[in-house]
Amino acid sequence: MDKLLQMIINQHHQLLVALGQHLALSFMALLIAALIAIPLAMIFKDHRRLGEIALQVAGVFQTIPSLALLGLLIPLVGIGNPPALIALVAYAIMPIYQNTYTGLTTIDPNLEEAAIAMGLSRWMRLRRLELPMALPLIFSGIRIALVMTIGTATLAALIGAGGLGTYIVLGIEQNNNQELLIGAVFSAILALVFSVLLKVMGKSKRNLKIGFGLILLACIGWGGQKTYQHFFAQPQAEIVIAGKMGSEPEILINMYKELIQAKDPSIKIVLKPNFGGTTFLYQALKRNQIDIYPEFTGTVLKAFAKAKTTPQNPQAAYRKAATYLKTQQLTYLKPMAYQNGYDLAVTPEVANQYSLKTISDLASVSDQLTAAFDPDFSHQKDGYLGLKSAYHLQIGSVRSLEPSLRYQAIAQKRVQIVDGYTTDPEIRQFHLVVLKDDQHFFPPYQGAPLMKTSFAKQHPTVVKQLNKLSGRITMAEMQTMNYRVTVKHEKAKTVARQYLLKHHLISAKQK
C-alpha cells in the first residue's frame, strides 16, 4: 500500500495526463454518442418499425468484442484517438438510444392524446412534454454508457490512445500489481464519480441547467485550447518515436532521443512509450503515424515475414529480417548486442546443487525437477516441444502458468525451472540463473530501430546516431536497466541517459 502511494506521488504527473486523456476520450465518445442516439430516437419514435430495426443494429455493435472492433478499425482509420473514439461511440450509442427510445415510446397514451387534442405542435410536445418525461430514462442510459465507456476506454491504450489503460496493460505485461491497481482503481473511481454526478444532474431542472452549463464551458475551453494549438502554436517538424509495452522499449526510445538530440538539439522529438502491441506499432509505422520504433529480429521473421524456420545464427537472422523489411520499404538499422529471446532460468540453489550452467547440463537431472511454463511456450514447436527433443529433456512435471504467475511460482520455490525472456527484470529480482542455450535452439531475438526507408534517406543524421547503439548493450546491462525501471521505479529517461554517458555515446555537457 505504501509502495502504491509512493508510486502515485512519484508519477502524479503522468497519472494526471492519463486521467485527462481517459476523461477527454470518454466524454468525447459519450457526447458524440448522445448527439447521434437521442435525435435518432426522437425521429424513430414515430416510426416504430424503423425504431426497432435501429435498436437491433445498435445491439449488434454491442456484441462485437471491443478488441476485435479496435482491430477492425485500424486498417480503416489508423491508430490512436480516431479508432478508439469510433469504437467507444459505437458502444455508447446502444444504451443511450435504447433508453431514449423506450422513454419516448412508453409515455402514457392518454397524455399523448391530450397533447395532440390540445393542438400542441410536434416540437412543443417533444420539448415540453416527451423529452422531460423521458429524461430520467435518458439519463440512466447515459449513465450506463458512461460507466461502460470509461471501462472500455482502458482498451484504448492498446492502440496508442493513452489513458488509464496504459497502467493496466503495463501492469499485466510487467506483472506489476501496483500499476494494474492504479489503472483499475482510477478508472473505477472515475466511473463512479461521473455516474454520481450525472445522477445528481438528472435530479432537478436546476441541476440539469448547471450541468449543461458546465459541460458547455468545458467544451468551449477544450475546443479553444485545441484551436489555439492548431492556429497559433508553431507547428514544428518532429520525429515520433514509439515503443511497445514495458520498460525495455521505453529505455531504448529514450536512448534514441538522447542520441539524436546530442547531434542536433533543434530536432523536436516526441516519445510515445507503451504505445501498443507489435502489430499496432508496425501498422502505425507503415501509415506514417510514427517514425521509428525498436523491433526484434525474431519478431520480424515470425510475425511479419511469417517465416517457417528462423536461422540459428543471429547475423543470418538479422540479414533475413532486414531483407524482408526492405521489400516493405522499411529500413532496419543494425541490431544491439543483447538477445531478448526465450530462455530457461532456474533457482540459484538448484543451479548450485547440480552445477547447472547450460541447458545441456539440465538434461541429466531434469527428471527430478518441476517447471512452470507460459502456456504458449509449453505447446509450441519453437518452445518446450522442440527444446525437449533438441536437448533430450525429461522434466519431471511441467505446469502451464500465466506469464505473470511463473515468476511468482519460482520465487516461492514451488517450481525450479521457468521460461522467460532473457532481459526480464525478474531474473535479477529473484536472483535466477539463466541457462545457456549452448545448442542455439532458441531463435535469435536482437533489437534494432525500424523506420521507413524514405525516412532513413531524409534523416541521415538520425540513422548515423542510432547506429551508435549497434553491437552495444549486453544482456546483463539490459536486465539491470529493466530492473531499475520496473522494480526500483527509476525514470526510463534517467536510466537511458546514464548508460549513454557511461559508455561515452553522448557527452555530459550537452543537456
Binding site: 402514457d108 392518454n110 397524455l111 392524446e113 391530450a114 397533447a115 395532440i116 387534442a117 390540445m118 393542438g119 400542441l120 405542435s121 412543443m124 415540453r128 412534454l129 422531460p132 418525461m133 429524461l135
Partner: protein
C-alpha cells in the same frame, strides 16, 4: 353551432356510426349519453379530428372542420378527458397555460391567466400554481384539467367522460362547478357520459345514442316524460328518483302508530321528505294513522333505496 351531417364511421365491416345528423346550438351544454361502445366518444373526437369519419362531414359555424388548419382548430377548443391527463412534468400553472404557450403568449400573461382560472375552478392560486400534479388529489386534478380547457377562452369545450373516474361526492361537486362555469362563460359544451343521472343534471339538451344510432334528442324533461323508444324508456327508468312506497317505509323502519295531535296528511315518500323538521323529527298522518320518525332514520332509508338502484 356544430352540425353533424350524415356522419358515418366504419372499421372494415363493423359499423360504429350510421348516417347520423345532429345540431348543437351555441352556448348550450349538450350531453351525449349512451352505454359504452355506443359511438359517443367517436362522435366527440370527430370535432377535433382525432377521428376522421368515413362518411359525412362536421361543420362548425358552417365551416367544415376539414377545411380548418389543424392546430388552429384544436387550439380554439378545450378538451377534458376521463382521467385528468395533466402533464406530470409541468406545474399546475404550466399545465393550465400550455395552449397559451403554444400561442406564444407572454409568461406574465400566462401566469395571470392561470391565477384567474384557478380561482374560477375553486382552487387558491397561490397554493396551487407551482405545485406538480402528483401532489394533488383526484378532484383537484380534474379541477385543474377544467381550468386548462378554459385557458384560451374557447367557444367550445369537449368533455369525454370527464367525471366518470371520480367518486360520487366529488362527481357531484364537479357537476356543480361545471354548471356554474357554463353559466358564467356561456361557452358551448359537448359532454359525453354513460351516466344518465349525470346527463339529466347537466344537459340543457340530451342526445341518447345506442349502437351507432342517435335515438332521441331533447331536454331532460322531454326525454324522461316522452321517451320515443323502449331503449330510452329503460335507460332513463332508473334516473327517476325511486323512493319506494310509504307502506314500504313504515315496514322497513318498523314505525308504530302513535297518538299525535294535528299532523299533516301525506300520500308518498316524497311528501314526507318535504315535511318541516321539529326537534330532529318528522310527524305525518297516513291512512288515518299518525307516525313519527327521526330525520336520520329517513336518511338511512333513502340511502338504502339509492343502493338498490345500483
Amino acid at each position: 353551432m356544430i352540425e353533424y351531417r350524415n356522419v358515418g364511421m366504419k372499421f372494415g365491416t363493423r359499423v360504429i356510426l350510421e348516417n347520423l345528423s345532429l345540431t348543437i346550438k351555441d352556448h348550450e351544454l349538450f350531453v351525449l349519453v349512451g352505454p359504452s361502445g355506443s359511438g359517443k366518444t367517436t362522435l366527440i373526437r370527430m370535432i377535433n379530428r382525432l377521428t376522421i369519419p368515413t362518411s359525412g362531414q362536421i361543420y362548425i359555424d358552417g365551416q367544415s372542420v376539414n377545411e380548418v388548419d389543424l392546430p388552429t382548430l384544436r387550439l380554439s377548443m378545450g378538451y377534458v378527458l376521463q382521467t385528468s391527463s395533466l402533464f406530470p412534468n409541468l406545474t399546475v400553472g404550466e399545465n393550465i397555460t400550455i395552449q397559451l404557450e403554444q400561442k406564444k403568449v407572454s409568461l406574465l400573461e400566462r401566469r395571470q391567466r392561470a391565477t384567474e382560472l384557478l380561482g374560477a375552478v375553486g382552487l387558491t392560486a397561490s397554493d396551487f400554481i407551482d405545485r406538480y400534479p402528483a401532489e394533488l388529489s383526484g378532484g383537484q386534478q380534474q379541477r385543474v384539467a377544467i381550468a386548462r380547457a378554459l385557458a384560451t377562452k374557447p367557444q367550445l369545450i369537449l368533455m369525454d367522460e370527464s367525471f366518470s373516474a371520480l367518486d360520487p361526492v366529488l362527481r357531484s361537486q364537479m357537476q356543480a362547478l361545471l354548471l356554474k362555469l357554463h353559466d358564467q362563460y356561456q361557452m358551448t359544451i359537448l359532454f359525453v357520459t354513460h351516466d344518465m343521472k349525470e346527463a339529466m343534471r347537466l344537459g340543457d339538451r340530451i342526445g341518447v345514442i345506442n349502437e351507432g344510432h342517435l335515438l332521441q334528442v331533447g331536454t331532460p324533461t322531454e326525454i324522461i316524460n316522452y321517451p320515443t323508444t323502449p331503449f330510452v324508456t329503460n335507460f332513463f327508468a332508473s334516473a327517476k328518483p325511486n323512493l319506494g312506497t310509504l307502506p314500504d317505509l313504515i315496514t322497513t323502519l318498523k314505525l308504530k302508530p302513535q297518538a299525535l295531535k294535528i299532523v299533516p296528511q301525506v300520500q308518498t315518500v316524497a311528501d314526507v321528505t318535504k315535511l318541516p323538521i321539529k326537534e330532529g323529527k318528522l310527524s305525518f298522518n297516513f291512512e288515518d294513522q299518525s307516525y313519527q320518525l327521526e330525520v336520520s332514520e329517513l336518511l338511512h332509508y333513502l340511502g338504502k333505496q339509492e343502493q338498490h338502484d345500483g
